[in-house]
């Protein structure tokens, strides 16, 4: 990496790549334990899309395997939203709704610009559009389903709400219209929750009582356990292949 432009682009690639890598791993944790076989395949498909994005982005920064398997927790730059545990299926869907809505808008902005990520974003935005569609359909069915599914979906939306403010903090190396991004995100999520008969959470998304700082390397408790599982094979058997 030479010069500030490359350094800034690498920082941005690390943030976006870590978001995709970490969420991909979380979704992969459903393999073997999803509610139904069809949904397991759907979640695995989404995970693989994200893994593909992560590989492209991390390769811009350095060796993708070293970055994924040999970094310490504090070196990861993903937002705290994507590292949150799967919880019940409603939590997974709420996390997916919040993130894929953000990612689609974000990649939409990047694709229409002329920055270093325009090509990648143009390809990825089509994948992410499907992720968002999948999450929205499940949000509608769980929110407007049975009394129990409604209650669980509402609880999931409430619990993850405090992690959404971080998505609209400036990312080093990306020139984004952040207020536009946040407004569009709120409009989209509010509309889906409304159709799903869910209440838009009222808690704060920024400030002292919100979460954040994942982009600065500060992560939540469960992230360490996730990393241990993700990295232990490579660390135990360096260079292992099959």
């Amino acid at each position: 990496m030479t010069g500030t432009t490359d350094t800034r682009a690498a920082a941005a690639a690390l943030a976006l790549g870590d978001d995709a890598l970490v969420l991909s791993h979380r979704l992969g944790e459903w393999a073997g334990s999803a509610p139904v076989l069809e949904e397991e395949v759907a979640l695995a498909n989404i995970a693989l899309d994200l893994l593909g994005q992560a590989r492209v982005l991390l390769s811009l920064v350095g060796d993708e395997d070293e970055l994924a398997y040999l970094r310490e927790e504090r070196a990861f730059r993903n937002s705290q939203l994507v590292e949150q545990p799967n919880g019940d299926f409603a939590h997974t869907i709420a996390r997916q709704l919040y993130f894929s809505t953000y990612q689609r808008l974000l990649y939409g902005q990047l694709a229409s610009g002329d920055g270093p990520f325009a090509g990648l974003a143009a390809k990825a935005v089509k994948e992410v559009a499907y992720h968002q569609d999948h999450a929205e359909h499940w949000t509608l069915r769980l929110g407007d389903g049975t009394a129990e599914s409604h209650q669980r979906m509402q609880r999931a939306c409430d619990a993850l709400w405090r992690y959404t403010g971080e998505l609209f903090q400036p990312v080093d190396g990306l020139d984004l219209d952040l207020p536009g991004l946040e407004t569009a995100w709120l409009d989209s999520v509010t509309a889906v929750l409304g159709r799903a008969t869910l209440t838009v959470p009222s808690g704060p998304r920024t400030g002292a009582w919100s979460a954040g700082a994942g982009r600065q390397g500060l992560h939540t408790e469960s992230f360490g356990r996730m990393l241990a599982e993700m990295q232990h094979l490579h660390r135990s058997h360096p260079g292992a292949t099959w």
Binding site: P35, V36, L37, E38, E39, V41, A42, N45, D133, H134, H137, R141
Partner: protein
């Protein structure tokens, strides 16, 4: 929530324009919209299709194996129904 409580859907995929939809398999889904999405994930992951139909399995009326003989046997000894008596002109390769 188990797939036992979800209805079964038959999936038909058209692999490209000009061809007809072909039965690809079946799956469980709570409703038609989700069945389409599951079908997309299960049967078109490797660019197999340009169009998908999903049909409730209960909507399909199938011929019974017991009726195989009266249904299909009579066609077997009517060779005049097969266009085997035509001379194929030379140079026609794709008939």
């Amino acid at each position: 929530m188990t797939s036992d409580s979800w209805p079964l859907w038959e999936v038909f995929v058209r692999s490209r324009r000009g061809l007809s939809h072909t039965h690809a398999g079946s799956l469980h889904a709570p409703d038609a919209e989700m069945a389409l999405r599951n079908a997309r994930d299960l049967y078109t992951r490797r660019s197999e299709g340009v169009s998908i139909w999903v049909v409730p399995s209960t909507a399909i009326t199938a011929s019974s194996p017991d009726e195989k003989d009266p249904f299909f046997e009579p066609a077997a000894d009517k060779p005049y129904r097969h266009p085997t008596f035509y001379e194929i002109p030379e140079g026609v390769k794709h008939l």
